[in-house]
Point group: C2
């Protein structure tokens, strides 16, 4: 098989193990080293969080957008949740379509997809017709099969051993 030239990738990090968002941050780190323009949109983090990655991004001028504030995961009103998820996705779509980025990270986006709050077909069509040279990473458990089929690189992070099994909670610097 002849080796093709470079090609912008859709990367999916999924599975029940730790390391999905973490690996996305690793690509972000390499991309930063290469001078790329990067944005990371997070479907779960709230606007008031101040995680290690957010602190680092601020220091380095990397755009990191927490979409989670107001994202009422426990709302009993499904229409309300759908409208919120839709608004978050519109923010992602705008970034993707803008043509301003080399790398867009859609962190934890599998959750609103799996809840049926976002239209998977629409998401895939937006990715398919994204600007040339744009790499996109999607993270989260249980990546939908159609997304796996569409993606170029898919790694499943499988939990072999989790610190919580020893009663150790999530820690700054390591987990967030």
């Amino acid at each position: 098989m002849p080796v093709k030239k470079r090609k912008p990738l859709v990367i999916v990090y999924t599975g029940n193990g730790k390391g999905k968002t973490t690996a996305a941050l690793g690509v972000l780190f390499r991309a930063f080293g290469r001078g790329w323009t990067i944005v990371m949109l997070s479907f779960i983090k709230s606007e008031t969080s101040n995680y290690g990655e957010e602190r680092a991004a601020r220091k380095l001028g990397i755009e990191m957008i927490p979409l989670g504030a107001g994202f009422t995961w426990l709302s009993k009103d499904i229409e309300h949740d759908k409208a919120l998820a839709r608004r978050c996705w519109e923010a992602c779509k705008e970034k993707i379509d803008s043509g301003r980025y080399d790398l867009v990270i859609l962190d934890e986006m599998t959750y609103p997809l799996n809840y049926g709050w976002l239209d998977l077909n629409e998401v895939i069509e937006v990715l398919r017709h994204r600007p040339p040279n744009l790499h996109v990473i999607v993270t989260g458990r249980d990546a939908p099969q159609a997304l796996v089929d569409f993606a170029d690189l898919v790694t499943e992070m499988r939990e072999i051993k989790h610190p919580f099994q020893q009663g150790i909670k999530a820690q700054p610097g390591i987990d967030f």
Copy 2:
């Protein structure tokens, strides 16, 4: 089970999929955001490489040490290779024992371990008696079982889909 206080971890990222070194870089990024002192020692990269992560580390003043130069992976002289691996490990041990770091990354160290070039028991003893508060990450395929048993967090990166299957080669910013 009561949740313990924070505990420095030994983390292993293993498996045949992409994302092992990448996840280690993600932890490094978070740790940088928290102001930690970090060193990454790489058993495979050569001293002349100039990967995205090396460029980023240089910009940020993070210590990243390629041990691979002179590491004659294809040498026919096993004693020669062992001596080289030993020298690389001594460099790692010195960093671990120094007490100067919050995070030490031993990138791709499973390879010299699996070749029998390093003494697994010695490595585990050094990790067991490391300075308090030091987190250590080991990456590479086929992590030895004793290391998995000793570690606090182990994720297997499983290859579901690899760009090379489509004939796409490794790319700057994404893979290195």
